[in-house]
Assembly symmetry: C2
Homo-oligomer: 460 residues x 2
């Protein structure tokens, strides 16, 4: 931390004078340490962030971000749409709204969810939707409603880094459940339930990204969807289904969302961050009525109401623009980039490297050859002008040292090829260094809190 | 709660079958009661909300809302501005941003704060600003950083209802400090500090709205500003200064913000909700560097980043529009409405009624003649087509039964006169009823949680 002036403490002093108020030129050391809430203790910014600041330079091929390709949007048409929106309903869009979110948008959200099988036949209703400040706030609201310190949450291992941040801030304990190429392993879930029950506790919910998982890129199979729901229903375990990528399928048959299969027991989280824009920060929760009421109260306590302006923009986008055509365009774009990355990996990666083959979404999960350490290697990779997110960020328990997440949605194909080439070269160098000198010194320095290993929010 | 279908429980069952999944037509009773976090227990929607739904009908003169007069904005020009914004930087405005908020806006925020004396001379810097989803989220982030369950917070009595909601959600204990026409009473603050210290505890901070306070409309005098800061510095008590209305002064000399007087010990909260638009949900915190770092981490865990789109809109508004001219127009408009309300109160209120005389801001605080009860009277008032917020909503301890908050910012002057006439008439009827029958039955039904007595978020 840079200290730009002398230290002025808040400590008790005998004089009540105001002298000394103006004799420093900046802010001070952390005099507040003793005052922070428990949930904040030890929460510090990551040293890795500085690396990612470098990674955003144009000469670096970044596979780190999870940001969608907003340059693919018809920006001029959006500008015209905004102008019309103001003329039509500017005064109300600029005013306060309600904590649950605007009714028109909640109806449109139901139409969007219906594309993945979540409709009136399974009890989905605009009245049970809460609009949020992106999917992230949806997770935070759910945590506020359900989690006390020490509560257990099940999540895939690896899992979405932003969810880990939420659970950490809620002082909850994350128990990871293993995945394979078919997604969450039902037997592993059963085992986790049994283990937690044996310790006299019960998890509050299972957090899952069943479709094109972030970060693993795998999808829960049809058979397992039914099986996982059965296990959860039998155990009385709530499911929080996070589905930001469901509409980005590039091959294979669409699978109905978990929420489409059951009327109760699943809280569903969606977002417009990938289908339209992360910058407007509009997401939602579909929850059982009683839970929805709590979510609204917590939402009001947190932000009064989701932005009526952003909501009006999303509403206008959905109702006046051919958004499903845009989506089709994005799917084609991302499919090409995924194919390029898969081909590049196949032709360039050193022997012993493994990776997932996503049918959709934005991410590929890479497991490095034995002995390589993705976080230790990151500075060398960025030096070689390629960036990724080390796998440890996606685990609450320090696992994942030999893994990394690659995102293919932003760089164009030729850059993807070049980036994978650079990455392969860095890995090969690391392997030779290791062959001569053994494990790198950074090896021991790896078990950390998840939120410090990632460059939020760009990795969302 | 409306139950539209039969109840499907999440309880353990022996069969793993999926039967029963489709035989209901809506959502269910609250099967989740046992699962909620402690902070949620007993948090329920207010019965009073239904009344406020009626109060929003056009025939009702509403003094309840704290919403600014957005119809006074040059909506067409804003529309054109948005169109240009997209052309200029649409792709980045629609993309993810950073957790702290955009640098350009943080610099503009510093210019706005400088209008109230908060500038480089007291160490204010864009680097110590965190952009938030309105002032409400700023308060929530501060609570997340500082408050553990059971912690004590000092706040004026009455205080901002949204702050009470935040402190309640943080399971903190609010200790009210009395005000008079000069604002917070320093001796009362000293006494509160002593009392809490005697119980072996220490308050985490003093939450205060020193200028044109919401809901009381009073302003902390020049002399008391220095005195309150001295008391807090001596006691090692942090100050959270919330200043949404400072730029809305209609008479008298501007007083520098508390933060303008000290370099440390004050966390400052601002918002564009009153100066531009509540619909974009953009506010900020100016905090000591160490605290600012924590606020950013908590902000990222909660929403990843404040909306880059909303931030770009506010930036464009500040840089391309004559916003200080607009502000002048709003000041003239609100001053006329304040004057009208003060005149109407003076000529129409029954004897024994008292009220504050705000030099700025949006609110007048009314104390009813002995025996009248503002919450009990509300249904009759709304029936007579006038609405206000009962005073109990602004206290954490059930005080304020004989008080109410009146807002004059939305109704035009002739409606204000008519509304006060209706209110006076309802009060007179109540007084005659009381003279004959004694205190109303509802009298005992008044000590409640603050968040249930108010129609959030419109009352912000």
């Amino acid at each position: 931390m840079i200290v730009r002036g002398e230290i002025v403490t808040l400590a008790k002093s005998d004089s009540g004078s105001t002298s000394g108020r103006t004799d420093v030129t900046g802010t001070t050391l952390d005099d507040y340490t003793g005052r922070y809430a428990q949930r904040i203790q030890g929460m510090t910014a990551s040293e890795i962030r500085a690396l990612f600041a470098v990674a955003s330079r144009p000469e670096v091929v970044s596979f780190a971000g999870g940001a969608p390709y907003t340059a693919g949007l018809p920006i001029d048409a959006v500008g015209e749409m905004l102008n019309e929106l103001m003329a039509r309903r500017g005064v109300s869009a600029l005013q306060y709204g309600i904590g649950q979110g605007e009714e028109q948008l909640r109806e449109q959200i139901c139409s969007v969810m219906a594309l993945e099988g979540i409709d009136a036949s399974c009890g989905a209703s605009p009245d049970d939707v809460v609009v949020t400040t992106g999917g992230q706030q949806a997770l935070d609201l759910i945590a506020r409603v359900f989690l006390d310190p020490g509560d257990v949450v099940f999540a895939e291992g690896p899992t979405y880094v932003g969810a880990l941040g939420v659970f950490q801030a809620a002082q909850a304990e994350v128990v990871h459940v293993a995945m394979d190429d078919q997604g969450l392993i039902p037997e592993a879930l059963e085992e986790a339930i049994t283990t937690v029950a044996r310790s006299g506790r019960q998890a509050k919910f299972l957090y899952t990204v069943p479709t094109f998982q972030n970060p693993a890129g795998v999808t829960l199979s049809e058979q397992r969807r039914e099986r996982v729901l059965e296990i959860c229903q039998r155990a009385g375990l709530l499911v929080v289904e996070d589905n930001p990528y469901g509409l980005f399928r590039y091959e294979g048959e669409p699978l109905r969302a978990l929420r489409a299969r059951v009327r109760e027991g699943v809280i569903y989280v969606g977002t417009f961050s990938k289908t339209f824009s992360p910058g407007v920060r509009v997401g939602w929760v579909l929850a059982p009525h009683a839970v929805r009421e709590k979510l609204v109260l917590v939402n009001e306590a947190q932000i009064l109401c989701p932005s009526p302006f952003s909501q009006a923009v999303v509403s206008a986008y959905l109702s006046t623009m051919p958004w499903q055509e845009h989506l089709k365009g994005f799917r084609e774009l991302y499919r090409e980039r995924r194919d390029t990355m898969l081909e590049s990996l196949a032709s360039l990666m050193p022997a012993g490297t493994r990776w997932t083959r996503p049918e959709g979404g934005l991410f590929i999960w890479v497991t490095l050859p034995p002995g390589l350490h993705s976080k230790a290697m990151l500075p060398r990779a960025i030096n070689a002008r390629v960036a990724y997110v080390p796998g440890t960020g996606f685990y609450a328990d320090g696992s994942g040292t030999d893994t990394m997440r690659l995102s293919y949605c932003l760089p164009p194909p030729e850059r993807i090829r070049e980036g994978v080439r650079r990455l392969a070269s860095v890995m090969e160098q690391e392997m030779s260094v290791r062959a001569v000198f053994g494990a790198p010194a950074e090896r021991g320095d790896t078990v950390g809190r998840p939120s410090v290993d990632t460059p939020a929010p760009g990795v969302a």
